[in-house]
Symmetry: D3
Subunit: 297 residues, 6 copies
Amino acid sequence: MDKMDNVMIKAATLSEALPYIQRFNNKKIVVKYGGSAMLDAKLQESVIKDIALLKLVGMKPIIVHGGGKEITKWIGKTGMETNFVNGLRVTDADTMEIVEMVLNKVNKGLVQKLQKLGVKAAGISGKDGATMMVTKKIVKGGDLGFVGNVESINPDLINTLIEQDFIPVIAPIGMDDKFNSYNINADDAACAIATALKAEKLVFLTDIEGVYTDIEDKNSLISILTLDEADKLIEDGIVGGGMIPKLNNCIEAVRKGVSRVHIIDGRKEHCLLLEFFTNKGIGTAIIANEGTYDNEQ
Amino acid sequence: MDKMDNVMIKAATLSEALPYIQRFNNKKIVVKYGGSAMLDAKLQESVIKDIALLKLVGMKPIIVHGGGKEITKWIGKTGMETNFVNGLRVTDADTMEIVEMVLNKVNKGLVQKLQKLGVKAAGISGKDGATMMVTKKIVKGGDLGFVGNVESINPDLINTLIEQDFIPVIAPIGMDDKFNSYNINADDAACAIATALKAEKLVFLTDIEGVYTDIEDKNSLISILTLDEADKLIEDGIVGGGMIPKLNNCIEAVRKGVSRVHIIDGRKEHCLLLEFFTNKGIGTAIIANEGTYDNEQ
Amino acid sequence: MDKMDNVMIKAATLSEALPYIQRFNNKKIVVKYGGSAMLDAKLQESVIKDIALLKLVGMKPIIVHGGGKEITKWIGKTGMETNFVNGLRVTDADTMEIVEMVLNKVNKGLVQKLQKLGVKAAGISGKDGATMMVTKKIVKGGDLGFVGNVESINPDLINTLIEQDFIPVIAPIGMDDKFNSYNINADDAACAIATALKAEKLVFLTDIEGVYTDIEDKNSLISILTLDEADKLIEDGIVGGGMIPKLNNCIEAVRKGVSRVHIIDGRKEHCLLLEFFTNKGIGTAIIANEGTYDNEQ
Amino acid sequence: MDKMDNVMIKAATLSEALPYIQRFNNKKIVVKYGGSAMLDAKLQESVIKDIALLKLVGMKPIIVHGGGKEITKWIGKTGMETNFVNGLRVTDADTMEIVEMVLNKVNKGLVQKLQKLGVKAAGISGKDGATMMVTKKIVKGGDLGFVGNVESINPDLINTLIEQDFIPVIAPIGMDDKFNSYNINADDAACAIATALKAEKLVFLTDIEGVYTDIEDKNSLISILTLDEADKLIEDGIVGGGMIPKLNNCIEAVRKGVSRVHIIDGRKEHCLLLEFFTNKGIGTAIIANEGTYDNEQ
Amino acid sequence: MDKMDNVMIKAATLSEALPYIQRFNNKKIVVKYGGSAMLDAKLQESVIKDIALLKLVGMKPIIVHGGGKEITKWIGKTGMETNFVNGLRVTDADTMEIVEMVLNKVNKGLVQKLQKLGVKAAGISGKDGATMMVTKKIVKGGDLGFVGNVESINPDLINTLIEQDFIPVIAPIGMDDKFNSYNINADDAACAIATALKAEKLVFLTDIEGVYTDIEDKNSLISILTLDEADKLIEDGIVGGGMIPKLNNCIEAVRKGVSRVHIIDGRKEHCLLLEFFTNKGIGTAIIANEGTYDNEQ
Amino acid sequence: MDKMDNVMIKAATLSEALPYIQRFNNKKIVVKYGGSAMLDAKLQESVIKDIALLKLVGMKPIIVHGGGKEITKWIGKTGMETNFVNGLRVTDADTMEIVEMVLNKVNKGLVQKLQKLGVKAAGISGKDGATMMVTKKIVKGGDLGFVGNVESINPDLINTLIEQDFIPVIAPIGMDDKFNSYNINADDAACAIATALKAEKLVFLTDIEGVYTDIEDKNSLISILTLDEADKLIEDGIVGGGMIPKLNNCIEAVRKGVSRVHIIDGRKEHCLLLEFFTNKGIGTAIIANEGTYDNEQ
């Protein structure tokens, strides 16, 4: 009876998930959602289903998302010109308007998908409840416009939603002390929110498998990095490019009390389940120097 | 001492507000916000300040807003073509995308202004928490696309926000049972929400002073309309045009338990305070046949 | 990479469990635990793990257990003699003492196994909080001694434990209005408790695969029985023996408001997961005449 | 249209009150009520209406009152003789009986007026719930009888009333450790209660405009006094007479954590509104050395 | 050892109180306190101690008191003249002022005695929280002045006090719809309050042992009266004088849902304990026609 | 009237209990129940009634019991052999099974008796909710088997029961970190539980009147022992035998924060009432060095 074999395997698998479900019961899990996992329809469905499952088995996921390539697309559609400072796009008032429209559209789209799965979700930006307050980001060589650094998080609205069983879906927009709108890097926003919520885990869905000691060698993937090791990787120039700010975010979050921060490959189907329901997880985990990494503990 | 005279008048005025504040203490007040009051910057500021004041003196305002002329503007910006059925704009999938982006932008803009005044606000659409579920609106002569009639309201998310002291700001977007997005007429949305919340008042901010028996004669403004009188005005063809659906919304809301529904002139500064803090209010009130109209009772 | 294939299958399996987890979220599930599933150590472990998992994914399981063959064993050990009435063992005062000792031992043993898995459990009998009050069971032909029929359930203690996140483990002992101890048939106790708690499901773990139309023909297993069909099976003499009282318990529980009652094969490993996490479940379900059987709805 | 101008001014005035209402939202405000504001019927009405308004716009007022000239009047009515020590009236047992009767009469009269305005109020003395415990006041030159210094405040009853939305109206009577009744100076009682409640403001309604550097010169009214400045005024003998104990009460209250203490002119109609709803308030404010005085912050 | 015998008797007595304590656990008990039990210092102490004990063993006593002979004494002291209508004292405005002063003095005196025993108490009148609203009592032959009939009870303040563990001590003063003060007969007030609170027992402390069939014959004391029997006693003229209104109050209270109403002899020390902690109680109990009288049930 | 004299004495006795009831209101009282008080049916009834009374007058009793002579009796019944190490019985796995059966039987018997008196009770062992975790007791000269020292108490389940108004009845069985069952000395268990609950009193019911300075001289009973005095008694060898571990338990409990620990004579009827409702109590009290002993304070 082939079919019964299958259901037996299924039952065994579920049974094996027990310690992991237990381990993260009632814990706040911040997921930074972006990259390919957002662009590919099938991956998007897999991520949303995973998050819904995390919620249903007793965790408290919070989604912080970027805008993917939608922002560029809509700037194009409206025929706006884009200025650059040091190769970084300037977010002038008109651009900020588009950014906010796009991010809110993406935001409500994620809410829609979660609700479709029967999970309660509510989409907010950092403006709602003045959740994220920022200061203008200053860079050498020019004015980036309305790009902000997170100054403070007011977690009241997020916690209200969590307590009433909603998954908060958060667009990375904040306000300065004059209540102007600012764009925030989604990684930065996720890091600040995870820290303010004292989250158990912060997971970055990225387009890379994790941190490598040798980017050319797939076998050099690092599973666990202590803070000291992570600092050293940057110091020694072993990691570079886009990984440096991401790693710095991870380091900061762990320093400020998030137990474990993960860089995982969002291009892999069910990557969140693989991270949460297997002993060693996937990708790279950044932990405190005195910490250990084991999903069962 | 001229100045002291002024502050004495001020004190007297505040003192006179006592019975009105008492009358609406802790009551839910749904404000449909649209028209000129949304387009003119000064009026917008006056409306937002009024709503903040209603909140602070103990009422529980809920804002339902439209998109004003912004939707048309952004359809123009992106060079989309618009189709019409019986003179009504067709909301195809692409148009719906713009509608949603614009409504969410307007939504967060209102939140921003309320927060700037120090009042807690949170912006949602009918998709969050599956608050507004719709069915497709069917008209003769063609397919209007993603335009919906409200089928049901789930007030949980709105009530969660109210209980935690946030002013809910609601964009009139809903989902059908396949979880597709639909545009909803903001008057209809306000009416459905006021009914579901068992609101004490539903106030439509419009670009007209109220209901006239003779539209040409400013002196024919009707202060109070019972349900029967309102029905008769429509039957007898005395009111017409855009007033008919608005009046029908009012009639429905009163029938379903909203105590008083008001059509007031949003072009008048502090129109909401004039409505709430004077004995006879302004504009036209629609009340139950057995009801009375007096803000003091 | 063989191993990655496995974890992918694992992730897919977990993902497929989503609708079932959702379906029974926060629902009270009464499990009558007895038979082989209690005697065989490996099956016992599988049942306990399954119940722990049901708890962790958001259900509220309640265990009602029998004493298995332990009672007979201990009566033997103490050299007591046993009297019979119509082939039924008489529970005199001395026997009742042993019955109670054994049932409480079994009870605390189950608590121990659940706690070992990290799940909070508390073992009670129907005497605690006067949870189960009985009247003496009267049979023709003799006096059965301290054997009781459940007269009333006071669910306060059980609900207190559930609300504080404990799994209640209940031994089928009650008291009469003179506060004497009585033995209760575990099936009867489970049925009365499920009814009093308005449980969503009542599951009997038995030593049979379910109800057959022809006990000799394994292919004649009935998946779903409406109340009328179940009544008819008994009337027509198609089922017999020990199945009749069990089926009558099922019928009564459904009549009194338990949505679905299940007779499943406790000899099958992970039988509870198979019942809860597959669309059609296993064994036989007894449902209301107008009901439908589908774990997804 | 003259009338519309008036309502517009009214609306503007209300709108201007917004920041003040916001500033004191949910804050506990202790009002020491006595002097002319208690004797003159019109002033009394104005004070009660002001307090009702403070309550309705979200503050939590607490009234501590004296007995005005009523005590002397009733001592006269009953033909009692009064003894004096150092010019201070001796409160013997008979006098204390009258004092208590009169204070409770005044107390319930204030409750009555607040209830008439539709505001919930409850009148207590320091004996109820053993709210105010005292020790006998010792003065040189004789025995003042039942005159007490506040030793401790049990705020439970007051807080119970506040939480249930009543305005507590408190007569300044306490008990010693033998549970004998004592008269307490109303200023002292108000000061002790404000301190125990960690009130935001303590306002003394007096028969003077505030503190002057030169009592003869109306222009020398001091708006703000830091603790150091207040101490110095007393040290330097610039203030004198009845102002010294009052100022000492203010100083003590600020030292013990009341943010701002005010001496305002109770003879001015709506003096409380003028204090709370204008930027600079009226009268004299005593604040911490490092404090600032601005009702908007 | 004589002493040990005594303590053993003591222990036995306490042990015997068990079923009575259980019977009235958490039940609201209204005690109308007046007559000799109020005038005699020793009796007063015994009543207060009894009430404190009832509170401490888990009941919820509420005291409604009269003014005893104090009102007459103080009217005398102030040299006021008293007018009569049909032999009833007229309560003009001046008299009402005295009445209120005296009742509040008595009220706070009872609070003081309870607090001295370490029991939390709070004294209110029917004016606080608008607890008792009245209409003017109309009698033939003249105007009685400010004498009121209870129209309605708002139990919120009383319940607030009970929930926070205070014994409410209530003076029988109410207000009419113009918020004027009125004197209320204390028996009437107690009856109205017991009814509004759905009290378990209403006990009148009187200067008589109970109801007699023959007032001259001490052996004719009636222990239990059903409503019908009580009606008949009045109809047949067997009871007369001051007993008629009291009996009517009892009848009304039982009709409106108070389980048992008692007329007991307040001149007997510990009369309340004798009523509550003996099987048959003392005095006369008025019960529903279908009721039974037994403190143990 | 002889009978009335009796009830008057009864009332006086109850009235005298007032200060004691007040003193222990809402306090947690741990009673170690064992010895003769458990074996003699009449004493057992007296203890249970006393505990029910303590509960009803507002205390929060918790019972920790031993197994009396029942364990030995049942070991005999099953014909098991008993091994000894240094004269101590070895609790091998088989013995532990019997111990657990017997203790749970005793446990449910106490629950039954309390419920019969109308008091809510729930019986647990230290295994339920993992309330008592132990380590194996190590003695020189051999292996005692499953005998444990309490390592930690998780008071959640006990507190849950107390808050819901149940009397927790606790069998002294715990688990080690492998979740094996262990027998715990009932005195040790009571001591650990009293400490963890921060109980007001811990009372040991023993078969001795208290601590004597000269065991031969009944007049040498010590009423109060400070910690230092107790230490000295042991040091100086004045107390010996079974009293030493008991006294050490008392000392430890007082050191860890239990206010007063009592050794009283469980053979005396109503010993608990004598302890709680007389000023000096009975038996010996162990108190902190700086403490005082007086039930009224």
